[in-house]
């Protein structure tokens, strides 16, 4: 419609131009493309370009061409009057509305008296530039404000409306302030970042290094999602020893959120599973095995009460604490966890990769089944998982946190230990060699454990180079009024240590201490100054405990996996620690311990490599080949596999 008209203009303009050449009229000739541009033809995406057609000639604004000249010079010329309508049509828009959640609405404080100068009236008269002292003071005041934490939509959120929902949320600090949420202490900025990360994600791994407050970040996010009405039911699954810790942390960080622990006999558990008054339920991994039938079929009626709903249990969110527990995807625990009906899935772990990238793939089977697979190249896996994983390390985010100092206590065995050790190793290696192809990894393990026990204590005389050193060090610790943790792989070893350390009133925290007594043990250790040392097994004490008042950690013997050792160390070296944490790693030189230490150091370097997204995927645990290699034995005809 537009183009023919333009062409008509061009024809007329050309005609006028011919007249101009004859010295009759002044008029600027049109170029057709310029005319198109001038009148907005095909100009742009929006409808705001001025429209012009024969039917649209409304005289909002007129351009009259050489009207006066027409009268005087060209009384007979056929001069047209062009009328343009500018802005007749408004630009096209797209819009979204967001539901207000009444739960978020909280009572506001009593309005301040009108006389208070919080909101001032007219301050200055000015033109459009408020460059006066008051304005400058306002700007300075705004610039002093702390940085705000914004939510970001996850990468897998496709719908624009869903993405904008998160983009348009106010900063986390504003949400917290307006909801009048209080915290026992001010969270660190990186913790707010963690909350913002979890808040918008249906699938996420919070993989912060131990001690950075994963528990607090998860609880705060759950709290905010519950308050905003985005969640109604949450299931948190953790190792059994950590259940009381989670309950305590919820009481501290989300005191208004009711929490129910799944425990007791089957009928009680069935009741709690369906208890609607507690939006957060805490279960332990071991218990899931027993309640598998309840979770999968939810056949509560036949088991307990007629009141239970026959509908399948569904949770808006399932959180796995210490998610490395499902690193073996074929394990029953992993299968049960994956079978739970849920809308969101989060995994919390300081060690998403303990042995190999298979561990990460297994966790993703819970988060987003099939998203990662074992044969992916490392870089591809790293790229694909990037948006789902948030991992920070202490050295990156806690620049002001006191350092941890490693002090490797390289000890020589006592003479009694040496003779026992030599006999055991020689006989053991001969025995293994004689087995030929019948040898298994279990046989080698048995020898390793036997030798490690001798490195701790001579089985005949009880002599121990490590204990001698430990006693000397603990004297210093006690004298300075500090406290220490001693870790060992064996409870028997801890008992032997305990008998020699009675003057330090040692407390025990390991598998032989009933779960219900463990909290009181920690409380006594924390509050009673006579208890200088606590003896812990790696299994019971490595995860979830907050012992940041301890500045000394002793690893009496070494674990197979550096990640487990790190977890143990980070019981003390975590948020709130006020001084340097000294870690003494006891190692008997020229023994199996030194050989294992060397391998573990290589593993530690590999973990760093993987998170730096470089290098080839490698097993991070001790492989069978490496274990056989501890005794210069050759791997029998089997495939190498992570231990």
């Amino acid at each position: 419609m537009m183009k023919p008209f333009m062409e008509e203009i061009r024809v007329n303009a050309d005609a006028e131009s011919n007249r101009l050449e004859k010295g009759v009229q002044t008029i600027e000739p049109f170029d057709i493309s310029e005319a198109n541009s001038f009148f907005g033809s095909g100009c742009h995406d929006s409808a705001m370009s001025c429209s012009l057609s024969s039917s649209d000639l409304v005289a909002n604004l007129s351009i009259e061409l050489c009207d006066s000249q027409k009268e005087t010079l060209l009384p007979t010329a056929d001069i047209r009057t062009l009328s343009l309508t500018l802005g007749g049509q408004l630009p096209k828009t797209i819009g979204f509305t967001f539901p207000e959640s009444p739960m978020w609405i909280v009572a506001k404080e009593t309005p301040k008296p009108a006389s208070e100068p919080t909101t001032d009236s007219l301050v200055v008269n000015s033109a459009s530039n408020p460059s006066n002292e008051s304005a400058l003071a306002c700007r300075a005041s705004r610039k002093d404000r702390p940085k705000m934490t914004r939510m970001r939509p996850p990468g897998d959120l496709v719908k624009l409306e869903d993405r904008l929902y998160y983009v348009l949320q106010p900063p986390l600090e504003t949400l917290i302030q307006s909801a009048k949420l209080t915290f026992p202490f001010q969270p660190f900025p990186y913790q707010f970042e963690g909350v913002a990360f979890l808040f918008s994600r249906a699938a996420a791994i919070l993989a912060d290094e131990m001690g950075l407050g994963k528990t607090m970040q998860a609880i705060t996010t759950i709290r905010m999602l519950l308050l905003s009405g985005e969640l109604q039911t949450v299931l948190l699954i953790c190792p059994k020893p950590l259940v009381t810790n989670w309950v305590r942390e919820f009481g501290q960080w989300a005191p208004e959120v009711p929490v129910a622990v799944i425990e007791g006999d089957q009928s009680k558990r069935a009741w709690v599973w369906n208890h609607p008054q507690a939006p957060v339920k805490i279960a332990n991994y071991e218990l899931l095995m027993r309640d598998r039938s309840l979770l999968e079929t939810n056949d509560f009626k036949s088991d307990a009460s007629e009141n239970f709903s026959p509908a399948q249990l569904h949770f808006d969110l399932v959180v796995l604490d210490e998610a490395q527990r499902i690193k073996n995807r074929n394990s029953t625990t992993s299968e049960i966890v994956r079978s739970i009906s849920r809308s969101r899935s989060w995994a919390l772990t300081g060690t998403p990769i303990e042995n190999s990238t298979d561990d990460l793939v297994s966790i993703f089977e819970f988060l987003s089944p099939g998203y990662l697979h074992n044969d992916m190249p490392l870089k591809a896996m790293s790229h694909a998982s990037r948006d789902y994983i948030l991992r920070r390390t202490k050295d990156k985010v806690l620049t002001e946190m006191p350092p941890k100092m490693f002090r490797d206590a390289e000890l020589d065995l006592t003479s009694e230990q040496i003779s026992t050790y030599k006999i055991a190793e020689e006989e053991g290696v001969i025995g293994l060699t004689d087995m030929g192809d019948e040898i298994t990894i279990q046989h080698v393990f048995e020898l390793v454990l036997r030798l490690k026990q001798i490195c701790n204590f001579d089985p005949i005389t009880g002599a121990s180079c490590k204990l001698e050193r430990l006693e000397a060090d603990l004297e210093e610790v006690a004298a300075s009024g500090q406290k220490a943790i001693v870790f060992s792989q064996w409870v028997d070893t801890l008992d032997k240590i305990s008998s020699k350390l009675e003057r330090f009133s040692p407390l025990h925290y390991h598998g032989r201490i009933p779960s219900k007594q463990r909290d009181s043990v920690i409380e006594r250790f924390k509050n009673d100054p006579k208890h200088t040392v606590i003896l812990m097994s790696y299994g019971a004490g490595a995860v979830g405990l907050n012992l940041q008042f301890c500045h000394y950690v002793f690893l009496f013997d070494r674990w197979w996996n550096p990640a487990v050792e790190d977890q143990a160390i980070n019981r003390a070296h975590r948020l709130g620690v006020k001084g340097t944490v000294t870690v003494s790693r006891m190692m008997a030189m020229n023994t199996i311990e030194q050989r294992i230490h060397n391998v573990l150091e290589e593993k530690r370097a590999l973990i760093n490599t993987l998170f730096a997204e470089t290098g080839e995927p490698k097993s991070l645990g001790l492989t069978q080949k490496e274990i056989f290699g501890l005794f210069n034995l050759h791997l029998p005809h089997r495939h190498s596999k992570a231990a």
């Binding site: 096209k92 819009g95 967001f98 609405i105 506001k108 301050v123 610039k143």
Partner: protein
Amino acid sequence: MSDNSTGFTKGIGYGFVTVRLHPEHGYFGGLLVVNALARPMEFHCTLPVKPSRAQSILYGPTLHDFVCGEQIARALLSKAKSTPTIIFTDTSPVLSVRHFLSIPIGWLESDTEDEQSSMIIPTSNANRVCKSYRVEDVIIQVPEEFQDDGHAIVASWKQNSPQIDLMEPFTRITEALFEANPAAKAA
């Protein structure tokens, strides 16, 4: 309309309008309506708008006022499902929309323009005289011919005490504009 149990006045919305100019794609406008707790109620944005050459010539120094105020802001506000009590803008040309609305509108000069951003805030070349008012720690300017707006804004703010950092919502709108128009992100 007040909810006595919460003390929160339901239905009160505060409109934030911003316009950004991209050298290649033209003008992008956004309106965010938030409640008294700064939470989003609705959001509207325009598709990229580019004035024609005719408009550029004919509106001259008042082109920004025409595009940002009479066109973009007017279009956005006409689409709002809730009527904001007050409108704030960080884009001075948007003030010209006041001639088409009966809602008080105040301009807050942005002090946090991102130098890395591919888009700039258009500034008005019209010789508009404004009066300044102070709300919390922000100076708000209203056109002199609508100076009653200033008193209305101050009075409303005192009465409702909304928990809003007045400059902050513009950051959200700008990010949302980038989210809705990824092409504009590239400089």
